[in-house]
Amino acid sequence: MNTLMDVLRNRPGWVEVKDEGEWDFYWCDVSWLRENFDHTYMDDHVRISHFRNHYELTHKNYMVKNLKRFRRQLEREAGKLEAAKCDFFPKTFEMPCEYHLFVEEFRKHPGITWIMKPVARSQGKGIFLFRRLKDIMDWRKDTRSSDDQKDELPVENYVAQRYIENPYLIGGRKFDLRVYVLVTSYLPLRAWLYRDGFTRFSNTRFTLSSIDDQYVHLTNVAVQKTSPDYHPKKGCKWMLQRFRQYLASKHGPQVVEALFSDMDNIFIKSLQSVQKVIISDKHCFELYGYDILIDQDLKPWLLEVNASPSLTASSPEDYELKTCLLEDTLHVVDMEARLTGKEKRVGGFDLMWNDGPVSREEGAPDLPGMGNFVTNTHLGCVNDRKNQLQQLFHSLQTQKKASS
């Protein structure tokens, strides 16, 4: 179920170009980008689906560095309270270079659980949990010795991160949220938030006593699929709307608004932290998959940002979500040059940040402050994208006719 090919092939007026033909749009993968971007000439109108140095945001070690730097800057400029808004990332240390800093922190909090994650791998590969320094001393020995090998594979970078031990549980299970954010430019920063997304459940019941059981702790669908408990018909995802309703019926709408507002804060601050570092090429746009974990106090934590979120569908509902997501991405990128550039909503995407906060449509009331200012987001809300697109394109057409 390849959503990307279906969406691209079905787009009216688009033709697939093979190999070395001339192209106007390329949904590339990051390896192609790494090898070819720097010596590919692109006309003004050409669009490509990644930023050159996206890894500043999407590789865990770079992101942590950028976020820490941004936090210090915020503290200098706006004070401690504002800087505290960046505390959505569990304490992280790059390995092996920050190993000593890590040990210091480790000794301050004995008995807590840490998680070791490879910097650039996805789908849950290579991740393990630990509580004793001994566990990683062995690992460290292994990586050191491999330095001596002649034909070496590059030493993989890891990060050690504080494991969130009190996740919010539904039905006794741990879950995380996958949210989609589309960035069309960094300077100025323009970011769109998609209304749909999903909740990914771990198949087994959460308990801290079995840190070796990666099925309990990792919620990526790829890992869950190999769990002995996994039944393909079951699926282990909820649409975000369902999740939002569940929380609202349990905690009331105000609490839910506060949680989602905190999530908006995560998206904005994380993008702002890399804004000056990412090469903002006008040809580039990027669709990020954010992984968010909620803890029992209903605080959202950022786990990671993916530059190439999975576009394969695991169920008909998933297929629907991803094809609509991609269609709307293409609408926003607007190769057909239909939009005026003043739109606040295109299909399922709401304009979240336009070089500053974006207020809601006229007539709709703004949310009460709550310390956060972004109000034009509707994550987990009703997504009547078909109607909205129909109205939007219809009115754009009439405008064009009127002005010609």
Binding site: G172, F201, T204, K234, C236, S249, P253, G363
Partner: protein, 537 residues
């Protein structure tokens, strides 16, 4: 002002911030629940004070009831009983009449029960598993440890079969006949073309419009008037405000009236508890713990049936799989809850009897099996699954489910003439279709796709697992509000009306099933409104 159009002689009016309520006062037989027994000693205790005088005793007690909140609790308890128990019948009528007045229905229910029990017993003999046995201590400990994650257990259930499925039950209903009713051979426009061939009285659309007057086009609804296009000042905000007020006053009757227009998500759990008159007293929590202890100590054959049902239905559902563990915690306890036996006084069904080994036929050794008298069938766990969205403490979830079962769900799988019984619902559905969509009905019948064959499973499950959860909860709001299941038949007809164009094009039962396979995108309230109030009759 919203008024309930039903009339009841001698009504007592209470005015309530926009809602007009009526309490029928001429109900002579009111079984007093535990609430009333509890408050009398309290009232007496308050009389020990020296300033109480004999002359004003009556007034003082009344005053005490009011200020302590017991008056409200009493009212709620009374209202609850009024909803559940049938109206008094002739004093000379035997107790079977309370269960079911028509003989042929009672007989049919009796033979159906015999069949189910036979099936259960033969499974028991085939697998040589006792109906009940005490668990060895080791197993008891294990189960206690696993109580919160019973879903991780994967017992071998391949030999177990559900005792029956809805379609088996449908066949029984299709063969129901009233021996006193002669259909006549000649076909006329009066001939009922559907599968149900018993002459029960059902409502038509004008009757339904009167009955469901609060669903009308001029009344605000949640499920319609809270959509994104409608500014919340028009209806939603005020409705939420009234809901909070109703909850603050803790008035069951007011809540029931209020919920006819739907319940806001945040208030729903409390509103349902209020309407069902569920309070979470310490004794309720204790009772649940006792049931849990029962589960730990004894293993019942029906437990395996429950496991199988959960694994087959709820665990495979895209949304309810998360709540798998809660379902076991509720259903296993439910099987052992003998207080459920009370509802058989007004249920046409009777609890199956079993005998202690070796004492077959001896009444002193007869026990009800399972202890609550309810044998689960395929899909039974879906009655519980939607409630997991609202209640998270097991004992609350349990109480709510039990109340919903003894008030409503039991009617969906027992043969009776009650207007909310499944037979009446089927007949209502078919009649609505035949009267208002005759061309569609005829066409489906001609291609061998009798509509009831498709809609039966929706109604038996009260649409659980077929509609999206938020829509299902809006539907169940109205079941509670109107204290009737008729809305299920109306919705089923409305769904057919909605997909009529596609259905007219199909040429086989399988194709018709395919058109109606996916109801998860349907919006319940607009469908109901259009069918009832916007169709030309």
């Amino acid at each position: 002002m919203l008024e309930r159009a039903n009339t009841n002689a001698g009504a007592l009016h209470g005015c309530y911030g926009g809602l007009l309520l009526r309490y029928p006062t001429d109900h002579p037989v009111i079984p007093w629940g535990s609430t009333t027994v509890l408050c009398l000693p309290l009232a007496v205790a308050s009389l020990q004070k020296p300033e109480i005088r004999l002359e004003s005793l009556k007034e003082d007690i009344k005053e005490f009831f009011k200020i302590s909140g017991w008056e409200k609790k009493l009212q709620n308890a009374v209202y609850s009983e009024l909803n559940v128990y049938p109206l008094p019948s002739h004093p000379a009528a035997p107790p079977e009449h309370l269960k079911e007045p028509l003989v042929y229905m009672r007989k049919a229910q009796g033979s159906w029960e015999k069949r189910i029990l036979k099936s259960l017993n033969s499974m028991c003999t085939e697998l040589s598993i006792p109906l009940a046995r005490k668990r060895p201590v080791g197993q008891q400990k294990e189960l206690l440890n696993k109580w919160n994650e019973m879903g991780t257990d994967e017992p071998d259930l391949s030999l177990f079969r559900p005792v029956y499925a809805p379609k088996d039950f449908l066949e029984v209903l299709i063969n129901l006949r009233n021996p006193n009713y002669e259909n006549g051979d000649s076909l006329s426009f009066r001939t009922h073309l559907g599968l149900i061939q018993v002459p029960l009285k059902v409502k038509d659309i004008p009757d339904l419009k009167e009955c469901f007057i609060e669903l009308g086009l001029n009344t605000g609804q949640l499920g319609i008037d809270d959509s994104t296009q409608v500014p919340p000042e028009l209806f939603e905000n005020e409705h939420v405000r009234i809901g909070q007020k109703v909850l603050a006053e803790q008035d069951s009757a007011a809540a029931q009236q209020y919920i006819r227009q739907g319940s806001p998500t945040a208030l729903r759990a409390e509103l349902w508890a209020l309407i069902l008159n569920i309070s979470s007293q310490p004794e309720d929590i204790l009772y649940y713990e006792q049931l849990k202890a029962n589960v730990i100590q004894h293993d019942l054959l029906v437990d395996s049936l429950i496991y199988k049902d959960v694994k087959l239905t709820a665990s495979n559902d895209d949304y309810y799989f998360v709540f798998e563990d809660y379902l076991y915690q509720v259903l296993l306890c439910f099987s052992r809850d003998t207080s459920v036996l009370g509802h058989f006084a007004y249920n046409s069904a009777s609890p199956p009897k079993s005998y202690i080994r070796g004492k077959l036929g001896l009444e002193e050794y007869a026990v009800f099996y399972p202890p609550n008298g309810v044998i689960p069938f395929h899909g039974f766990s879906m009655y519980v699954a939607p409630l997991c969205f609202l209640y998270h403490e097991p004992y609350k979830l349990y109480q709510t489910f039990r109340e919903m079962y003894v008030r409503f769900f039991f009617r969906l799988h027992s043969i009776s003439s009650h207007p909310s019984g499944i037979v009446s619902l089927c007949l209502l559905f078919e009649t609505l279709l035949q009267t208002y969509l005759p061309q569609l009905f005829y066409h489906l019948r001609e291609i061998g796709a009798q509509p009831l064959r498709i809609s039966f499973k929706w109604m038996v499950r009260a649409f659980s697992g077929y509609l999206a959860t938020d829509q299902l909860l809006l539907l169940w709001d109205r079941i509670l509000g109107y204290n009737s299941l008729e809305i299920l038949a109306v919705l089923a007809a409305a769904v057919f009306a909605f997909r009529a164009v596609n259905l007219m094009e199909v040429t086989s039962l399988a194709a018709a099933e395919a058109v109606l396979a996916d109801l998860s995108t349907l919006k319940v309230m607009p469908l109901l409104q259009i069918f009832l109030f916007a169709t030309i009759t």
